[in-house]
């Protein structure tokens, strides 16, 4: 049965076996980047050199280029950009992770029951997914935020609510394939409850594309947050996020390059890291790509 031998009922395949087989430099780079950014976010209070929301309105303090005292310079209200970036890592990364978590919860649940139970439930949910897919996403995002007001929570919720359809489809097709497998049929015969089958049998074996999609989604969630900041609908001042530092900095693009350079690079490297890891995982886990 070829590559499908790896599926065994009741246990999880050890992903490490698959990954450590062939590590490539890009994957390592990606993992390192994520690790470093996460560390920055966690240790933000220790790393920040100044108060991230501390305004200094004196002329000497505003719009200063990078120096030893202000590693990344200061912005138009005299705030230290490095400290803001460091705390911004917390915000941007948590927006990414939590938004994706929300979409995972919804996507796996709906995709799972739709793929497993099939028939009417499947049709209903699939139509619902298509509706969500067709809904102009930006329309939805803008309206929800106008309704609920821009806050970190709402941003996370809204991004999560708009990214679950893609995940749902993946989960569903995985479940459709796997529910015909012997190990599932044998579990059914043994009288194992449906819920248990879904979560203990099928789901662990279908995680591969979910990992890939989730990783890529974190990257795009961070990008969506920055796009929302561009519209003024993202995380609100004075709380720093990479997106809103970049947005308020863009007005000084020809005068104070550091206000756009650092947040832009940070977003770039972080999203790149997630994309490389996601792609790397896809290479490892997709049996069709094996030589």
């Amino acid at each position: 049965m070829g590559a499908h031998n790896n599926y065994r009922a009741g246990t999880r395949p050890a992903p490490t076996n698959l990954i450590l087989g062939k590590m490539n430099k890009r994957l390592i780079f990606g993992i390192m980047v994520i690790f470093i950014m996460a560390a920055v976010a966690v240790f933000a209070p220790l790393l920040a050199t100044h108060d991230p929301v501390g305004i200094d309105l004196s002329v000497e303090a505003r719009l200063q280029p990078p120096s030893f005292e202000h590693l990344f310079g200061t912005d138009n209200l005299g705030r230290d950009v490095f400290s803001r970036m460091v705390y911004g890592a917390r915000i941007s990364l948590s927006v990414g992770f939590i938004a994706v978590f929300i979409s995972l919860v919804i996507g796996i649940f709906l995709g799972g029951i739709s793929g497993y139970f099939g028939k009417l439930l499947d049709i209903l949910i699939s139509r619902f997914v298509e509706v969500m897919y067709c809904f102009p996403t930006f329309f939805l995002i803008m309206l929800v935020i106008t309704f609920l007001g821009p806050s970190i929570i709402n941003v996370m919720v809204v991004i999560g609510l708009t990214s679950w359809p893609g995940l749902c489809r993946i989960v569903r097709s995985q479940f459709l394939t796997l529910r015909e497998r012997d190990f599932v049929l044998s579990a059914k015969v043994q009288g194992v409850s449906d819920l248990r089958i879904i979560f203990r049998h099928i789901l662990p074996n279908s995680m591969a594309p979910i990992y890939v999609s989730a990783t890529l989604s974190v990257g795009s969630a961070i990008l969506i947050e920055s796009a929302l900041s561009f519209l003024g609908l993202g995380v609100q001042m004075p709380t720093p996020s990479w997106g809103n530092i970049l947005t308020s900095g863009k007005n000084y693009i020809d005068y104070a390059w550091w206000l756009t350079f650092f947040p832009g690079i940070a977003i770039l490297i972080t999203v790149l890291g997630f994309n490389l890891v996601g792609e790397g995982l896809r290479e490892k886990l997709d049996p069709r790509l094996k030589t």
């Binding site: 490539n24 430099k25 890009r26 699939s126 139509r127 298509e130 509706v131 897919y133 067709c134 809904f135 102009p136 930006f138 329309f139 939805l140 803008m142 309206l143 106008t146 309704f147 359809p165 893609g166 489809r169 993946i170 097709s173 459709l176 990257g219 990008l223 920055s226 796009a227 561009f230 997106g243 970049l246 947005t247 863009k250 693009i253 020809d254 756009t260 832009g264 977003i267 770039l268 490297i269 972080t270 999203v271 790149l272 994309n275 490389l276 792609e279 896809r282 997709d286 069709r288 790509l289 094996k290 030589t291």
Partner: protein
């Protein structure tokens, strides 16, 4: 990119054409209720959002009397119950009458058609550029898998995918437009084009198009080149390629004639998914490049509570998305050999 639906399933030995025809018909018929449903949801959400068009247009201006607002609401029946308003909208919609914009009273269809060409032009040109870059990159990266070319292009391509789009656009404008002065900073054409000869007019238009196309293409190359690459790799692993190589055919012939043909076929299926983008555009790029397109039209309409335009743009883009998914699914079914030739074993 999301994998297309593969719920064609097995149909117990019925002839292929019959399966396809019923499938196509079923899907096409479904589009209509979907549009109705989605338009209803959009309508409700718009009306539930706090705020109203009259306030947006006439709010807090001491010279404007309250009667102006009342008249406005009266004229557009905005005080009637939401369902009533939806039904009136529906009645006009089936005659393809989207009404007039609340902002400047122009017919919605006229506004859409005045902006559509700009978006089509930009997105179409970008698509061509993306295809011309992504496909070769994908093919070569697959053939030279894990060699330096593959590794480097992967990273390069992902950089475009990982940048916040407005930052990318601004950097392009700043360096190539502002600092180097090679291209105009924004806009679709110069105001004085009508005083220029046709040749210079075309050059003016093209010069204005370079930066926006560059920015759009840079972000779009990633997905397509990765998809091409993985499709190519899959094909290169197939038995018939092995056979072709065993027969002694040159590597070049193998790749170009045999492999590419089959690798690119699935690409057609995802082309359907690019249909909505052709029309809806990216309002971030349109804002920064001052490009007079559909993206900005929809965005500004939402901000101004311009219900007719929002509904018009929303319905059109919904329709195109549904249609695009439909095309993609059909092509996928057409192209997927497992369905074409029936399931084996």
């Amino acid at each position: 990119m999301c994998p297309p639906n593969d719920d064609l399933g097995t149909h117990k030995g019925r002839p292929y054409e019959f399966i396809m025809k019923t499938y196509i018909l079923k899907r096409l018929l479904l589009i209509v209720p979907m549009i109705i449903g989605i338009s209803f949801i959009m309508f409700i959400i718009m009306h539930l959002a706090p705020g109203d068009p009259a306030s947006m247009r006439y709010g807090l201006n001491p010279d404007i009397s309250d009667s102006a607002r009342a008249r406005f609401n009266d004229m557009y029946e905005l005080d009637k119950p939401v369902l009533y308003q939806y039904v009136s909208w529906m009645k006009r919609f089936v005659r393809l009458d989207f009404g007039n914009s609340f902002i400047d009273d122009k017919p919605v269809m006229a506004k859409i058609f005045s902006r559509l060409p700009a978006t089509l032009f930009l997105q179409g040109l970008s698509l061509i550029v993306i295809l011309c870059i992504a496909i070769p990159i994908g093919v070569i990266a697959a053939v030279k898998r894990n060699k330096p070319f593959d590794k480097i292009t992967t990273v390069l391509v992902f950089i475009g995918y990982a940048m916040p789009s407005f930052w990318l656009a601004l950097l392009a404008i700043y360096f190539f437009g502002f600092k180097l002065g090679w291209f105009p900073i924004s806009g679709m054409d110069s105001w004085y084009t009508e005083y220029l000869d046709p040749f210079f007019r075309i050059k003016d238009l093209l010069w204005h198009t370079v930066l926006p196309v560059m920015a759009t293409a840079f972000t779009g190359v990633a997905a397509l080149s990765r998809y091409t690459r993985s499709s190519m790799i899959e094909v290169l692993n197939e038995n018939y390629i092995l056979t072709a190589r065993a027969k002694g055919l040159s590597e070049r012939r193998v790749v170009i004639v045999h492999a590419m043909k089959n690798a690119l076929l699935p690409l057609i299926t995802v082309m359907g998914l690019t249909l909505p983008a052709l029309v809806s555009g990216s309002f971030i790029f349109e804002t920064i490049f001052s490009w007079p397109g559909m993206g900005r039209l929809g965005y500004e309409a939402i901000l101004n509570y311009d219900y007719p335009v929002v509904m018009g743009v929303g319905v059109i883009s919904t329709f195109l998305t549904l249609f695009g998914i439909f095309i993609a699914d059909i092509m996928y079914a057409v192209v997927d050999p497992r369905i074409r030739y029936g399931k084996r074993g």
